[in-house]
C-alpha cells in the first residue's frame, strides 16, 4: 500500500516519502504526502530540526519524527514553521502511526495489531504494543494506532487525533493511553467531554513512579510548574480525576482495557437498536 518515493531528499538527511495509500482516514488530511523522518540510524536528534525544516521547504505537510532526544527549543522552532504552513508533525520520540493491515509510518511491530474498529492513541511505544496485543487477543482489532510522542514538546496532540478518529468511519471506540507528566490527558478529557461522540476508554501509567525522576520519556515526569512554586502537575491522580469528571471509564491495568472496550461496544449496539 505504501510506496517509497525518494530516499534522502538532500544532504543525506534520510527522508523517506510515502504516498498513495488508501485508507479512509487519510483522505481528510490536506495532502497525501507523508514523510518518515529519521528512521533508526538516520538523523541524530540535533539534526532533526534541520531535517524537519527541509521537509517543510520541500512541500511535505505531514511529518513523523521517530527520533528521541530532540532539544525542546528546536521543536518550538519546527512547530512555529509547521503551524504557518499547516504541517502536521507527529512526535518526536514516537513509533509513529499504524493502520493495521494497510499502512505503517514508523516502527510499530505489526504482529501485535489486527484490523478492526478500535482507535488507539498514546504517548508511548512498547506500552501501546502491549495494549494492541491485549486488544487483539480479546478479538478487538484496531482502526489506527498512533503515538503522539514521549518528549516534552510534541507536535500533534490528543485532541487532534481524537477529532480524526471521531470522524473516521472505521473507528467505533477510542482507547487513550496516557502517562504522568504534563497536562495533555487533562486537555484530552476536557475535549472529549466537549466534542467527541464516540465512546472513549482511558488508561494512565505511572501511579507509582517516583516524583521528579525521569522514567525514560523526557515528558513523563511529575514536576512543579516553575521552580518550587505552584502545585504539582502531571500526577496520575490528576489525570484520572479529569477522565472521571468527563465520565470516561478508566482501566486500572492494561488487561482491563478490552473488557471496558467491549462494554462500550455493547452500549453502542444497545443504543443503535433502541
Amino acid at each position: 500500500m505504501e510506496r517509497t518515493l525518494s530516499r534522502g531528499l538532500a544532504q543525506g538527511v534520510g527522508v523517506e516519502c510515502c504516498m498513495e495509500f488508501q485508507s479512509s482516514i487519510w483522505w481528510k488530511l490536506p495532502y497525501r504526502y507523508w514523510v518518515k523522518l529519521i528512521q533508526r540510524s538516520f538523523v541524530p536528534p540535533y539534526a532533526a530540526l534541520d531535517a524537519g525544516l527541509e521537509a517543510i521547504a520541500a512541500g511535505v505537510r505531514q511529518i513523523v519524527l521517530i527520533t528521541e532526544g530532540m532539544p525542546p527549543l528546536d521543536m518550538v522552532c519546527l512547530l512555529r514553521k509547521a503551524e504557518t504552513t499547516e504541517t502536521l508533525v507527529v512526535g518526536p520520540n514516537t513509533p509513529g502511526i499504524i493502520v493495521p493491515g494497510q499502512l505503517l509510518l514508523g516502527i510499530h511491530p505489526t504482529e501485535f495489531y489486527t484490523p478492526g474498529s478500535v482507535g488507539l492513541i498514546s504517548r508511548s511505544g512498547t506500552l501501546t504494543y502491549e495494549i494492541a496485543r491485549e486488544l487483539t487477543l480479546a478479538g478487538l482489532g484496531q482502526s489506527l494506532g498512533v503515538c503522539i510522542g514521549g518528549d516534552t514538546i510534541v507536535g500533534s496532540s490528543f485532541p487532534q487525533w481524537l477529532e480524526i478518529l471521531d470522524e473516521d468511519e472505521a473507528t467505533e471506540v477510542i482507547v487513550l493511553v496516557g502517562e504522568i507528566g504534563g497536562d495533555s490527558e487533562e486537555a484530552a478529557a476536557h475535549y472529549i467531554a466537549e466534542a467527541i461522540d464516540k465512546p472513549v476508554v482511558a488508561y494512565v501509567a505511572g501511579h507509582t513512579a517516583p516524583k521528579g525522576r525521569r522514567m525514560g520519556h523526557a515528558g513523563a515526569i511529575i514536576a512543579s510548574h516553575i521552580s518550587e512554586l505552584g502545585t504539582e502537575i502531571g500526577t496520575a491522580a490528576s489525570k484520572i480525576t479529569a477522565f472521571e469528571r468527563a465520565r470516561i471509564p478508566v482501566a486500572n491495568y492494561p488487561s482491563q482495557i478490552p473488557t471496558l472496550v467491549k462494554k462500550a461496544l455493547r452500549l453502542l449496539t444497545k443504543r443503535s437498536s433502541s
Binding site: 512498547t126 502491549e130 504534563g182 520519556h217 518550587e228 491495568y253
Partner: protein, 393 residues
Amino acid sequence: MDLLEYEAKELFREMGIPVLPSQRLDHPKDLKGLTIPYPVVLKSQVHMGGRGQVGGVKCVENTIDAIATAQTIFNLPVMGEYPKVLLAEAKYNADREFYLAVTLNRSVRRPILLGSQQGGLEVQKSLHKIQHVIVEQQFSPYYARRLALKMGLQGALIGAVSAVIEKMYQLFVQNDLDLVEINPLGVSAGGDVMALDGKVSVNDDALARHPQLVSRMTKLDNQPLEGEPSAVVEIDPEGQIGIVCNGAGLTMATMDLVYQAGGKAGSFLNIDGETRWDSSPTLLKQRLEQGLEQMIQSQRIRVVLVNLISNLVSCDEVAEVIAGFLNRRVPTLHTLSDIRPDTLIAQATKTPWLVVRLVGSRCDRAREYLATAQMPLVESLDEAVNLVVSRVQ
C-alpha cells in the same frame, strides 16, 4: 538539572544581567582573601530549596564572625544536602522584590515569560498575581515590554525590568535551558534592579551541545546524569523486586501492576532504545546483559521481573542473552544430566532471581533457548507479575 546559584549568577554576569559583587568560597579560610567590603551575606550553595529557613543564608559583619558562620553553614545540611561551596555576596538593600522567569510551557508549546511584583517569599502566597506572556513567534523585545506592562510597572522601571527579561530570554535560548528564574529581583529606592537570587535549569537532552555549560556544572553526588540510559534506578529501599523493561510507558505500567498485586519494586531498569537514533540490536542486548548483572548485585533484590516487548531485537535474541546470563550463574545445572528430570525442575523453580515475560517475533525459539537454562517463558503480563509477587511473599 539545576545549576547552583553562583553558577547561574556567572551566566547572568556574562549576559549583562545585574548581579552583586560576590566571591566563591571552597573553604572558610578563603574568607581571608575576601575583597568585598563588609557587611557580606554568606549563602549555602545547594540544589535543594529552603536553605533560608534552615539557616543557610547569614549576614556577617567582620572576618571573625564570617569564618565562624561559614564553618556552621558548611556543616549545615539543607534537606540532607551539604554545601561544597558558599557564596559570599555584597549586601543589598532592596526596597521591593519582584519575581521573573522564562520557561517552556508544554501545553502551548512555546516559551513563556513570567513576572510578578510580589517576589521573594511572597510569590508562593500570590501565585495568581504572576503575569505571563507567550512568546508565539521569533522573540522581539516587545514581548518583554508587554510582560513589564502586564506586571503593572510604570515609568523607568518598565525599561529596566524588560531589559532584564530580554537578557534572561537570550540566556534561555542560547543555552537550551528549561528555566531561568530570578527571585527576587531586588528593586532599590532609586529604581535600580539587581538579581539577588537566580535559578537556571538546563535541558538534559540539549546539554551535549553545550560543553561550556557542562564544564562549569557541579553535579549532585550519586546522581547519574538524567537521560543517561541503561542505569539501574533505585526507587524503594524496602522493595525486593527488580524490574527490567523496555520503554518508559511499559516500565511505569509494570511498576504499577507490581504495586497493585501487593509487591514493592526496589529498582528498575528501562532498556529503552527503540526510538534512539543510534540504537542497534547489539547495543540493546548489551544493555540488557549489563542491566541484569547490575541488578542482581543488589542483596535486596530477590526477584527480577524481565518484561520485554520485542521490536528491534527479536524474542529469541533476547532469550539468548538471558539464557547466557543464567548459564553463567548456574554452570553446574547443565552438567547434571544424571539427575532425574523432576529434580531439575525443582532446582529451576528455586532459581531465585528471574521471571521472564517476553512477547514479539520468534517467541517459540525464545522458549527453546530459555528451556536450556530451565527458565520458563511467561507470555501474560498479569501472570508474570503475580508470579513475581508470590515469590517475594
